[in-house]
C-alpha cells in the first residue's frame, strides 16, 4: 500500500477542508493528493478488508487484557 494513502487517511482524520472535499468528490480529492489509482480504487469500491490488509493493520495485538481468573491461575 502506498505511503500516500497512509498520509491521506491520516490527514483526513484532522483536516476539515480535506474531509469536505473528499465528501463532495472522492476520486478527484484522492487524485489531487497523489493517492495512486489502484489504492484510490479500493477506497472507491469500499473494499475495507483489502485496505486494512494492505495497510498492515493487525487488530489481534489490540487484544491486551485477561480476565481476573486467568491472572490468578496462570
Amino acid at each position: 500500500m502506498s505511503k500516500q494513502l497512509i498520509e491521506f487517511l491520516t490527514e483526513l482524520n484532522t483536516n476539515e477542508k480535506l474531509r469536505k472535499n473528499f465528501k463532495s468528490d472522492k476520486e478527484q480529492t484522492m487524485k489531487k493528493y497523489g493517492v495512486p489509482q489502484s489504492d484510490a480504487q479500493l477506497v472507491l469500491d469500499k473494499n475495507y478488508d483489502e485496505i486494512m490488509k494492505k495497510l498492515g493493520c493487525d487488530y489481534d495485538i489490540s487484544r491486551n487484557s485477561v480476565i481476573e481468573a486467568f491472572k490468578i491461575k496462570k
Partner: protein
C-alpha cells in the same frame, strides 16, 4: 541521567483524530516511546511526534514460536519488563496503547503499579475507548437506562446478577470461551456458550447489535442487528463487541419512594 518516570497514553480508536492534546504533548516530551498500536496510521502519527519508538508489537504472543512466552499473559509481562527497563535506566518513558490505555489493557495497569512500587512517578492519561465510540454510534446514553459491561468469557464462565432492565455490553467476543490465552479466535464452542448464557436472561428473538467502531476515516462502523438465536451464525471478528438492549422497564420501588416522600406521579 534523570530519575525515570512513566506516562501511559492511548491513541483512541481512530488515530490521529482521537489523540488528545495532552497525550500529544507527553509523547513529544518523552525520551522514549513504547507503542502497542495495531494500525500503521497510529504508528506513523506517533513516529512523527517522537522518532524514538520501540514497537511493543514485536513482543506480542506468537502462536508459531515460543519467542514471546507461552501465552498472551506471558507476552504482556515481557512488555511490562521492556517498559520498566527504560524507566529504571532513568528515562522519561511514554507507553502508548490502542484505545483507552486503561480499558481492557493488562500491561498498562501492571506497568504503572510496578513503577510506583519501585518508587518512580507513573500516571495514566484517559483516552477514547471503543465504548465511547459505541455510545456515539448507537445513540445510547448509559445515563438513561443504566449500563453494565462484561468481558465475554467472564460473562460466560461466572454467575452474574444480570439486570435485564438495563443495557449490557459484552467485550472481546473475538476470544470468547478461550481459556488457553493462546488463541486469537473464539473457542470452539465459545459463541454457543455465550448464546446459551444470554438465553438465561433474554428470549431467543431478542435483538442484539454486533458493533465494531470505525478504525479508518473512510469506513463506517459495523452496526449489525441479529436475534440471539442468530448470534452463532454471525461473523465475529477481533474487534467485535455485543450490545444487548434492555428487555423490560425497571420496576419502580413504590414503598421506598413513599417512605422518602418521593412524588412518583410523573415517573415513567
Amino acid at each position: 541521567m534523570g530519575k525515570g518516570s512513566l506516562i501511559i497514553v492511548g491513541t483512541g480508536i481512530l488515530t490521529p483524530a482521537h489523540l488528545s492534546q495532552e497525550s500529544i504533548s507527553r509523547i513529544k516530551g518523552a525520551d522514549v516511546i513504547h507503542a502497542l498500536v495495531p494500525d500503521p496510521l497510529g504508528l506513523s502519527t506517533v513516529s512523527k511526534l517522537n522518532n524514538n519508538v520501540k514497537n511493543l508489537g514485536e513482543l506480542y504472543y506468537d502462536n508459531d514460536s515460543a519467542k514471546n512466552g507461552n501465552n498472551r499473559l506471558e507476552s504482556y509481562n515481557l512488555m511490562v519488563e521492556a517498559i520498566m527497563c527504560d524507566v529504571r535506566d532513568g528515562l522519561e518513558v511514554c507507553a502508548i496503547f490502542y484505545g483507552h490505555p486503561g480499558v481492557f489493557v493488562f500491561p498498562s495497569h501492571v506497568a504503572v503499579q510496578k513503577a510506583k512500587d519501585e518508587g518512580y512517578e507513573a500516571i495514566m492519561l484517559p483516552a477514547i475507548s471503543a465504548e465511547d465510540c459505541l455510545f456515539a454510534d448507537l445513540g445510547i446514553d448509559p445515563g438513561d437506562i443504566g449500563c453494565q459491561a462484561y468481558e465475554a468469557s467472564q460473562f460466560v464462565f461466572y454467575k452474574h446478577s444480570i439486570n435485564s432492565s438495563a443495557a449490557m455490553i459484552l467485550w472481546q467476543l473475538g476470544v470468547v470461551g478461550d481459556v488457553t490465552l493462546t488463541k486469537l479466535t473464539p473457542a470452539e464452542n465459545g459463541v454457543k456458550m455465550l448464546q446459551e448464557r444470554l438465553k438465561q436472561y433474554y428470549p431467543a428473538d431478542h435483538l442484539v447489535t454486533l458493533y465494531e467502531a470505525s478504525t479508518l476515516p473512510i469506513m463506517p462502523p459495523r452496526i449489525e442487528k441479529v436475534t440471539l438465536s442468530q448470534l452463532d451464525k454471525a461473523p465475529i471478528r477481533t474487534i467485535t463487541t455485543l450490545f444487548v438492549p434492555p428487555l423490560k422497564d425497571p420496576i419502580l420501588d413504590l414503598d421506598f419512594c413513599k417512605k422518602w416522600n418521593i412524588d412518583t406521579s410523573h415517573f415513567h
